[in-house]
């Protein structure tokens, strides 16, 4: 055993010596063989031969010295490693010499890898990393819906009273909690009020998620409800930035106010959340308070402001849990029949939390991943054709080496090494570029968007992303390495030598090159079509007609803060004073206010309503409800089709009133005059509201929301949004408007005053679409350049190879125009084929992702025509230069060079 070990050690040390002291071992080998030769010669002389004869005889017995040396090296069994090292050095030297080729190839491949890896990083962060909760796959979002709701319906809200009954009665869940969808707090700070990110949740919220506070404890059951004490938990980020990570933070108080609740109150800090925690279902929050105290919405069942998160009990399937909850829902509907008296059956539905968290981000992400994958593909194809073109140039070299006895295997390894070097360098650079672009892209997302997608906070390189990059690099290395392998078979050597001497065309490259260019052009076309469609969608989204002129309209969200006299009660008084003062600012035409203002992030809050005196025709549709002040529609310049707007007096009480929009009037009062009729919102306890007006439709929700039956009621809240019609550009008047607001009420909080156009551009729907369109646009631009460059390469190469043929044609009397047409016809074939395949695939891709499109079909003829035109024009320009060169071929030069 010991002997074996010793021997093994000796062998290893010898091999290492051969490897590490390669130069010395080589020298010794030469010396050893030289000594042998010398002795052989001496022996010859001794036998009576002349000096020269002795040398010749000795040489003859020796055979090929070089082969001998090689055989000895092989005997040392380090040939493989040795060859690899030598190939590596050779490859690097070759690439260093052909710097243009190396830089182009590496640049193209790096771009391809970087874009794919960067987008994969986002997909990884959003879809592959586990949510930062305990056993996140057991978490579901629970809601109710009609039994025939489409499967795409995956979230909805519930009233606080219903939630409490669910929590008590359902048996299938280990824990259940909810949060109010109305986000944000006004925080009182030393420098005045400030709007902060916050959520109100029920007790046990973090227990349900399986998240333990980093500091302190979470909400107890007695900290939720009517008489609960005011307590707050902080995000780790807020604890660090606002309180300097104060270890004695527990027990300190902060004054918080929900904008939709009157009066701020000191809240006692009871806990700090761990750093990795985020809650992507709602906007990310820094302050977490409970549902407590009086709030009208929490006291009636039709007001559904909570979303539920539940953890499935051990061993319970989602189906069983949904069935259990459906029983509870049915029970509750028997106990509390809905307003319309017609019991529409409701079933409970559960959605995996991940699906809700991702929401409408999933499709754009997958679309971008597809686009980035296509870009990687086009880069890979480009790399392949660059290598092909190069191996064409080295054709003679390969043939000569073959003829001198290099084995096919050695040649394949040698060129393969070059491919591996290219792939490795590109992969490394691509990974670095990807890491950088991920940070840059996250930086481009504005704070609102990032808050809604907190899982993007930590986008960057992790194990999966690096593995992904490695996989892409490995595939590249194999594909690029195979190219020369296919080209160095021995059978082709003879042909190679013959062709090379004849200066003939590289048939193989033409055969392989043309399909590659068609593929490149097709992929470029796919990206071009989709980028154009997305770009057009975004344009339409941003320029959608909201039903009123967007120009010269400013939007100023105002939030009264504090417990003083400025809380806005009675309803609308403060808003009235402020609107009046703002209307007097020079440059302002008129000013009005509403609770939310037109073109908001969502249609919510919504309500169902019923027409009084028509029990058989209950309206079950949920339409938006907005609380508006006097002159709102006049300021927006919306046509009042019938009746009147609210007056200031309507806000001070009297009978409950309502204004409906044209869609509501058309759907529910066909052929009747709605004025004077009454409707009821939600439950039977709510008052009859008399209809006093009908206005033309305006967009209350996001630009892509379908027309809905909307209701407008007199303003009765505290926070409001000013809408201000200006004479000139909004930006010049906005500072004066803000000053006027603070003039009337110094303590109020103004959050992001903006022009209406900016507000539309910042909405989640538009911001996401715009980001996606920009990225795909960038990908398409790169793909376009690569595709056209590929075409140029092929055409230029073909012209170069055919110069002899062209020369002969000219010599035989072919016209210059004929030659030009000859070249352009070939290019035309490639372009037509690429464009046709690309158009079909592009429309297919766009159809798969058609939910991302707005106001445009995936086969929109104008877009397709424009994309085709762009490609054709670029392709013609790219082919023009080589075609010109073909025309300029001098037959005498060509024929003489033969």
């Amino acid at each position: 055993m010991e002997v074996r070990m010793m021997r093994w050690l000796a062998t290893v040390s010898l091999r290492l010596r051969s490897l590490l002291l390669g130069g010395r071992v080589e020298r010794e080998l030469r010396e050893e063989l030289a000594y042998h030769l010398e002795r052989e010669v001496a022996a010859g002389r001794a036998a009576g031969l002349s000096e020269a004869e002795a040398h010749v005889a000795a040489r003859r017995t020796l055979g090929a010295v070089a082969q001998n040396q090689e055989a000895c090296r092989d005997a040392r069994r380090v040939a493989f490693v040795d060859h690899t090292m030598r190939d590596l050095r050779f490859a690097i030297r070759q690439l260093a010499v052909n710097r243009g080729f190396a830089c182009t190839t590496i640049g193209v491949l790096t771009l391809g890898i970087a874009s794919a890896v960067a987008i994969f990083g986002f997909v990884d962060a959003a879809m592959l990393r586990p949510l930062p909760y305990d056993a996140p796959t057991r978490l579901v979002h629970a809601f109710t819906t009609g039994p025939d709701a489409p499967p795409s319906m995956n979230r909805s809200s519930v009233s606080y009273l219903n939630f409490r009954d669910w929590r008590e009665r359902s048996r299938a869940f280990g824990a259940m909690a909810a949060y109010d969808v109305r986000t944000g707090f006004n925080l009182t700070t030393a420098s005045g009020p400030e709007r902060v990110r916050g959520l109100r949740v029920t007790a046990g919220f973090f227990h349900t998620l399986g998240v333990a506070p980093a500091l302190g404890r979470e909400f107890r059951r007695d900290e939720e409800g009517q008489d609960a004490p005011a307590v707050v938990m902080l995000s780790h980020g807020a604890w660090q930035t606002r309180f300097g990570g104060d270890p004695a933070i527990l027990g300190r108080t902060v004054t918080l106010q929900s904008p939709w609740l009157a009066g701020g109150e000191p809240h006692v800090v009871i806990g700090v959340l761990p750093p990795a925690f985020h809650f992507g279902m709602a906007a990310e929050a820094d302050f977490w308070a409970t549902i407590r105290g009086p709030q009208p919405c929490w006291e009636v069942r039709p007001c559904q402001s909570l979303e539920v998160v539940a953890r499935l009990a051990d061993g319970v399937t989602p189906e069983a849990a949904a069935a259990d909850l459906t029983l509870v829902v049915a029970q509750l509907r028997r106990e509390h029949p809905p307003a319309d008296g017609r019991a529409v059956p409701q079933v409970a539905r559960l959605t995996p939390l991940r699906d809700v968290v991702l929401g409408n981000v999933r499709l754009p992400l997958l679309m971008l991943l597809g686009a980035a994958g296509l870009l990687w593909l086009i880069a890979a194809i480009n790399g392949v054709s660059l290598l092909l073109a190069r191996s064409e140039v080295r054709r003679r070299e390969i043939a000569v080496r073959h003829a001198l006895g290099a084995s096919s295997g050695r040649l394949v390894l040698q060129f393969g090494t070059e491919a591996v070097v290219l792939a490795l360098v590109s992969g490394t650079l691509g990974l670095l570029l990807a890491a950088w672009s991920m940070r840059a892209l996250v930086g481009l997302l504005d704070a609102d968007m990032l808050a809604r997608m907190p899982y993007f906070r930590d986008v960057g390189l992790d194990g999966r992303v690096i593995a992904g990059a490695a996989a892409l690099t490995a595939v590249l290395a194999v594909v690029l390495g195979l190219v020369p392998a296919l080209r160095t078979s021995k059978a082709r050597t003879i042909a190679g030598l013959k062709e090379a001497t004849r200066g003939g065309t590289g048939a193989m490259w033409r055969r392989a090159g043309a399909p590659l260019v068609v593929a490149e052009l097709a992929i470029a076309m796919v990206l071009l079509v989709n980028a154009s469609l997305l770009g057009k969608s975004v344009y339409r989204l941003l320029n959608v007609d909201p039903g009123f002129p967007v120009d010269h309209l400013a939007v100023v969200p105002v939030s009264p803060v504090g417990t003083g006299g400025d809380t806005g009660r009675p309803a609308g008084q403060l808003a009235d004073r402020i609107a009046e003062r703002v209307a007097a600012v020079p440059g302002v035409v008129s000013a009005a206010y509403a609770d939310i203002g037109p073109v908001a992030a969502s249609l919510a809050p919504t309500t169902s309503f019923a027409v009084v005196g028509r029990p058989d025709d209950t309206v079950r549709e949920n339409g938006p409800v907005r609380r508006v002040g006097p002159g709102y529609f006049r300021t927006l310049q919306v046509t009042l089709q019938r009746g009147r707007e609210f007056s200031a007096a309507d806000l001070r009480g009297g009978r409950p009133l309502v204004i409906i929009n044209a869609t509501a009037a058309r759907r529910y009062f066909r052929g009747e005059d709605p004025i004077g009729r009454s409707i009821v919102f939600g439950g039977p306890a709510s008052p009859r509201r008399d209809i006093v007006g009908v206005v033309a439709d305006i967009q209350d929700g996001p630009p892509d929301a379908l027309p809905a039956a909307a209701a407008y009621v007199p303003f009765d809240e505290t926070a409001f949004t000013l809408v201000v019609r200006t004479e000139g550009p909004e930006s010049s008047v906005l500072p004066a408007i803000v000053a006027a607001v603070h003039d009337v009420a110094p303590g109020v909080l103004i959050q992001r005053e903006a022009s209406m156009a900016d507000r539309i551009g910042r909405l989640p729907a538009t911001a996401l679409s715009r980001a996606a369109a920009w990225l795909v646009g960038a990908f398409a631009a790169i793909a376009f350049v690569l595709g056209v460059a590929g075409l140029y390469g092929v055409v230029a190469y073909a012209v170069g190879q055919r110069s002899r043929e062209i020369g002969v044609r000219v010599a035989l009397g072919a016209g210059r125009g004929g030659i030009y047409r000859l070249v352009m016809r070939d290019a035309g074939w490639l372009v037509s084929l690429g464009a046709a395949v690309g158009l079909a695939a592009g429309v297919g891709f766009a159809t798969l992702t058609r939910r991302l499109l707005f106001g445009i079909e995936s086969w929109d003829p104008a877009t397709l025509a424009a994309a085709t035109l762009a490609l054709v024009v670029a392709a013609l320009v790219a082919s023009y230069a080589p075609a010109r060169r073909a025309m300029a071929v001098n037959p005498v030069d060509v024929l003489r060079s033969e």
Binding site: V3, R7, A10, T11, L14, R15, E28, L29, E31, E32, L33, Y35, H36, E38, R39, E40, A42, T61, L62, G63, A64, Q67, N68, A71, C72, D74, A75, R76, R77
Partner: protein
């Protein structure tokens, strides 16, 4: 010149081991010794000898040392190792069995 393929596979190794078992020797001397001992029948060419020597060295059966030769030049001397001696014994036994077997067959015919 006798090529290695002319010898039964592995016999060259045996010849080399046997030769260097007597005393440390350099490549040329090994070839000469084999030639003399075989009565000028086995001529081992350089193309077979040196790869075989390097292989045996890698296997740890012989080890090399640079020494001054009989004509006062630097030459690489090969010496049998302990492992090489074991191998030589095994190879020699193997050869004896094989050659006896072959003789049996050939002489019977």
């Amino acid at each position: 010149v006798s090529k290695p393929t002319d010898l039964v596979q592995g016999t060259l190794d045996l010849l080399i081991l046997k030769t260097v078992a007597l005393e440390p020797m350099h490549g040329w001397a090994i070839a000469q010794r084999i030639r003399q001992m075989s009565g000028e029948v086995l001529l081992v060419g350089q193309s077979a000898l040196y790869p075989a020597l390097h292989k045996l060295e890698q296997q740890g059966w012989i080890e090399a040392e640079w020494k001054v030769s009989e004509n006062s030049r630097r030459a690489k001397y090969y010496r049998l190792t302990a492992a090489g001696r074991d191998a030589l014994d095994a190879e020699a036994r193997q050869w004896a069995r094989l050659s006896a077997a072959i003789s049996l067959v050939v002489n019977k015919a």
